[in-house]
């Protein structure tokens, strides 16, 4: 008897099919891993099961009933519980208040009785938690337990956890899986959305792998290996197309990154002693699944984040970290991850283009409109930006905003280019244009660090590929010697050392 049967689920967002004819079955008493890269459609599928999205096609049968799930309230009533990555807890409330919120059962509240009720629920499920504790003061792991308790209090029989270990310390991760095992023993079904293979292999009974919205495998965990899962998940047959030969590797080191470590806001180590070099005329690609420290690395190199330890130097000169102005001094060009944070939308194209060189376009504090306009006109032509100098940047398309950023950065002949997700969300034409411009910079002798979640992009442009996993560089490949199987395993943590 299956607890959940999703059949032929298709969900389209515009032209993109996030789920394409997906079959997904969950049985009671199993922990089921839903594996896939970012954008494979895992979250979409689970949001459909939780009633947040309506599928365009397909049917969902829960416990033998195929009534449609119109909202999360429907899903909760049918026994679906969802613990998202972003907890929906009230930090100023106690554990008990959070668990009972909306399901108090009566108008008059008695804190002692509420605490007793929640303590009893927790004990019955093998939790240890203080029901009177203020949630905002609990660790992330404990807050997650409160979310699980909430779902259990609402009689959930299928518990979905979205990337539950992404924010947990190793000890909390262990504790979480202990709890999940107990739930499984009580015949609940647990679904964990993850891209961590070792976790899936160690802790689950079944695994379903999604790639580009389709199911590419669904089997008992015991009958598969992490190597097979990695291949299914990343699954690339393509080899890099022709590329300019590396001009750099024998040349001088331009960007020297030495032992960077930093913790994120929750205190989890985001980078662990990251060390690498980029030579003049070389593209180094950082390959990895999102959330393994790439954002922090880029933030440090662009002056937006102060590391706990480690140093960065450009052309042998140390860079003052944590100060974005150092970037302009050391000619570090930045193509930010989120292009809308790289421009000021309400300012004109011309103003955005000269923003980093304000000194050159002012005289005793006065802007020089003629010089600014001329500068803008030249860059608009050089970089084929489809806009007038006076247009507010927010009115431009994503591709053209990216060109504004490219024009501003690359026209200053940077010694180093930090390109973070340079083609995310832009169309094919703009993507090719960005790639061409980065290749030109390489030919000019710039040292380019390319951070991208798009593995094809990394393979296409990089002379050397570094693999980042869990805040550490775990492997290095030369562009002409990439072993895709091994690369996928390193990216997903299936192979620990590199």
């Amino acid at each position: 008897m299956n607890l959940v049967e999703m059949r032929g689920i298709t969900k389209r967002f515009g032209a993109l099919a996030a789920n394409d004819n997906v079959d997904f079955v969950v049985r009671p008493g199993e922990i089921h891993a839903l594996l896939g890269e970012n954008g494979a459609g895992k979250s979409t599928l689970m949001k459909i099961l939780y009633g947040l999205y309506q599928p365009d096609e397909g049917s969902i049968v829960i416990d033998g009933s195929d009534e449609p799930l119109r909202s999360p309230a429907d899903a909760i009533a049918r026994g679906i519980g969802f613990v998202s990555q972003h907890f929906s807890l009230v930090p100023t409330f106690t554990v008990a208040e959070n668990v009972l919120l909306g399901y108090e059962g009566r108008f008059r509240l008695d804190p002692a009785e509420m605490n007793a009720r929640v303590a009893q629920l927790a004990a019955a499920n093998g939790f240890s938690i203080d029901p009177a504790a203020i949630v905002g003061k609990l660790s992330v792991g404990q807050q997650q337990r409160v979310e699980i308790l909430k779902a259990l209090y609402r009689d959930c029989r299928v518990l979905i956890l979205d990337e539950p270990t992404a924010v947990l310390t190793p000890r909390d991760t262990q504790a979480l899986f202990e709890i999940l095992r107990k739930l499984r023993e009580q015949d609940l079904a647990v679904i964990i959305i993850t891209h961590k293979l070792d976790e899936a292999i160690e802790n689950t009974q079944r695994v379903t792998v999604l790639r580009l919205g389709k199911v590419v495998g669904s089997q008992d965990t015991s009958s598969t290996t992490s190597a097979e899962l990695a291949r299914l998940m990343v699954g690339r047959q393509t080899v890099p197309v022709q590329r300019e030969a590396a001009t750099g590797s024998t040349q001088r080191v331009v960007l020297d990154v030495n032992g960077l470590s930093v913790a994120d806001k929750r205190g989890v180590q985001a980078l662990r002693s990251v060390t690498f070099q980029v030579h003049a005329g070389e593209v180094v690609g950082i390959a990895g699944v999102a959330g393994n420290g790439q954002s922090e690395l880029v933030s440090i190199l662009t002056g937006m984040l102060q590391p706990q330890s480690g140093g960065v130097s450009v052309d042998g000169k140390p860079v003052i970290l944590g100060d974005p102005r150092a970037c302009t001094q050391h000619k570090i060009g930045r193509i930010p991850e989120d292009r809308l944070r790289g421009v000021i939308g309400d300012l004109s194209v011309a103003d955005n283009l000269m923003m980093e060189q304000l000194d050159q376009f002012t005289r005793v504090g006065h802007l020089q409109p003629a010089a600014i306009a001329e500068h803008a006109q030249r860059l608009i032509e050089d970089f084929q930006i489809k806009a007038s100098p006076g247009d507010p940047v927010r009115t431009l398309s994503g591709g053209n905003i990216q060109k504004v950023i490219l024009a501003r950065t690359l026209s200053q002949d940077p010694a180093v280019v930090i390109a973070a997700q340079p083609t995310r969300g832009v169309d094919i034409g703009a993507t090719e244009y960005v790639h061409q411009k980065l290749t030109e910079q390489k030919a000019r002798g710039a040292a380019i660090l390319l951070v991208s979640e798009d593995l094809d992009e990394i393979l296409l442009l990089s002379d050397r590929i570094l693999v980042i996993y869990n805040g550490q560089l775990v492997g290095e490949f030369a562009s002409d010697a990439v072993d895709l199987d091994r690369l996928s395993m390193l990216m997903t943590g299936a192979e620990k050392t590199g």
Binding site: L89, V90, P91, T92, E97, L101, G102, E104, F107, R108
Partner: protein
């Protein structure tokens, strides 16, 4: 000794309208809405209650009218800030300007340009307890004052000991969490505004139907703004809001007394005293203020 009791009596009286305003504002802010319409709401309630009482001859109808006006203006605040999701500062100030203008305009229409403010023939009487004892000056108060003190434990109970209060606070702290728990954020915020508006209305009515028994344009005179400050001072907790209202009322009573005693200080300084000390008190306590996390944020579901 008598001096102290008289001062205490004046403190309670002066605190009353501010306490009503502050308790109303506290309830609304706890649900995530800053109602800067409070000043105008109290003024138009005071005016409307007065007109209704005068025309009908019933002070109770006057009180009901004041409450109704408080609720109506709060519903307008709700429509603008909850349903339309507009900036709460702008909506609130707009309502204060609208209500103040309306009060002035309607006053002109009804009473023309009279220089002497109209007064009620019959206003709410004082309820004297402990007559003939030394406590008499403390407990010669209007019913409104006694009721205001009853509202403090009542609201504390409502906020902390009922499911409604839990939901109201959750909506002001994390509306997403409330929404996923099946609580209607919009409805809860509207209910909070209605409760708050009613309390503000009573606060206005106290001045025109009881304490003064008359209406003037300066009748509220910034008490709404002071109430907002008192809410911050009180850290959004009923008992501490009460303490704040009493502190302000006490300072006001003291400065009036000092003026009457003919203290050798320019009276402007004495007038300033309660406000200056309130600012100092808030500067000290406001550092640890724990604002409702969702205050000022219109709620919209994602996606």
């Amino acid at each position: 000794m008598e001096f102290i009791f008289t001062l205490l009596g004046a403190t309670l009286r002066i605190s009353t309208p501010i306490l009503y305003g502050a308790l109303g504002e506290m309830v609304v802010e706890r649900a995530g809405i800053l109602n800067l319409g409070i000043e105008g709401t109290m003024l138009l309630s005071a005016f409307g209650g007065f007109v209704a009482a005068q025309l009908s001859g019933s002070i109770y109808l006057g009180l009901a009218t004041a409450i109704a006006i408080g609720i109506l203006l709060s519903l307008l605040m709700g429509f603008l800030s909850i349903t339309l999701g507009l900036n709460q500062h702008v909506c609130g100030l707009g309502i204060t300007l609208l209500a103040s203008g309306l009060a002035l305009f309607l006053f002109r229409i009804i009473y023309g340009g009279e220089s002497i403010p109209p007064a009620l023939e019959e206003s709410f009487p004082q309820l004297r307890l402990f007559s003939g004892t030394i406590l008499e000056p403390v407990f010669s108060q209007y019913v409104f004052t006694y009721a205001a003190f009853l509202f403090v434990p009542l609201l504390a109970w409502l906020l902390y000991r009922t499911s409604f209060g839990l939901r109201l606070r959750s909506v002001g702290e994390n509306p997403e969490a409330a929404d996923t728990a099946g609580i209607s954020v919009f409805r809860t915020r509207y209910v909070a505004l209605i409760i708050g508006g009613a309390l503000m209305g009573i606060g206005g009515a106290f001045l025109s139907l009881a304490q003064l028994g008359a209406f003037t344009h300066g009748i509220i005179n910034g008490r709404g703004w002071v109430a907002i400050a008192i809410v911050i001072f009180g850290n959004w907790k009923p008992w501490r809001v009460l303490a704040g209202a009493l502190l302000f009322g006490g300072l006001q009573a003291l400065q009036l007394r000092l003026q009457a005693e003919g203290v050798q200080l320019p009276y402007e300084i004495l007038l300033m005293l309660p406000y200056v000390l309130t600012i100092v008190a808030i500067a000290i306590t406001g550092r640890n203020a724990s604002y409702p996390a969702a205050l000022l944020k219109p709620y919209r579901r994602e996606g």
